[in-house]
């Protein structure tokens, strides 16, 4: 009986929930996304500090999609949440201008600039970050946060 339960748990673990949203390209919706993300993360059992990290990271990703990605005011961008027992995977996808994502620089503190902090913050707060971008096609930023102790 014990064995059996464990087995079912293992099978269920593989199945993940997919929650997705399509967001208007406007600054006032970033906060809506933050609250949605917060609700999902708290439901999953992340602790308060982890939830705060995830909220900051997703807001930075949305801000980039709005500020750099999309020019057309009527275009939306998309967010996919993949949720399972171990982690949350969040994809922020815009079909905007794209950029050379392999040329991202770390912020240089000896000559601080107004910009260039967003992606660095996301990388610091999340466990794994991957950016795929193509000029003229758009950008997908994927970030992962694991439940359990911070790594």
């Amino acid at each position: 009986m014990m064995e059996n339960t464990k087995c079912i748990e293992k099978v269920e673990k593989k199945v993940c929930d997919h929650f997705s949203i399509s967001v208007p390209n406007k600054p006032e919706y970033v906060n809506v996304v933050r609250l949605t993300t917060s609700a999902i993360a708290s439901r999953m059992g992340f602790n308060i500090e982890q939830i705060e990290d995830i909220k900051v990271a997703i807001a930075e990703a949305c801000t980039n999609a709005i500020k750099h990605g999309l020019c057309n005011h009527n275009q939306n961008f998309d967010i996919n949440f993949f949720i399972d027992d171990e982690k949350i995977i969040i994809d922020v996808i815009d079909k905007g201008t794209g950029f050379a994502s392999n040329e991202i620089e770390k912020p240089d503190l000896t000559s601080p600039k107004e910009g260039g902090l967003g992606i660095f913050i996301i990388q610091s707060l999340m466990d794994k970050v991957e950016i795929v971008s193509e000029i003229g096609k758009g950008t997908r930023l994927q970030m992962i946060k694991y439940l359990g102790d911070d790594i």
């Binding site: 709005i66 503190l109 600039k113 107004e114």
Partner: protein, 106 residues
């Protein structure tokens, strides 16, 4: 969702005191930028920012503060951030900005 700014110039100490409450993000950052620029147009002096009631700041907001600091640094003035909440301290540490701003009351 909203940002509240309350500013006051202390003539004796030649110091701007401002209280910021709410959230600084892509939606509200411009409001902060305009306020700070107007302040520095009046008196290009040290700014002490009380963050006791500031719940959230994003990279856009930090960018606005860096922009103001760059203007002040030219005349050897600075920005003093007091009473930041834990999440804001964390962001200042991660980005290394705690070495550029003066942080008090953490």
């Amino acid at each position: 969702m909203a940002l509240y700014i309350n500013k006051n110039y202390n003539k004796e100490e030649q110091l701007w005191m401002i209280n910021i409450a709410g959230e600084i993000d892509i939606y509200t950052a411009n409001q902060l930028k305009e306020t700070l620029m107007k302040m520095l147009d009046e008196h290009n002096e040290n700014i002490k920012i009380n963050c006791l009631e500031l719940d959230y700041i994003d990279s856009t907001g930090l960018g606005v503060l860096i922009g103001a600091l760059k203007r002040l640094k030219k005349e050897n003035k600075s920005i003093i951030i007091i009473n930041p909440k834990k999440n804001i301290s964390k962001l200042l540490t991660i980005t290394g900005l705690n070495k550029i701003f003066i942080i008090e009351g953490e």
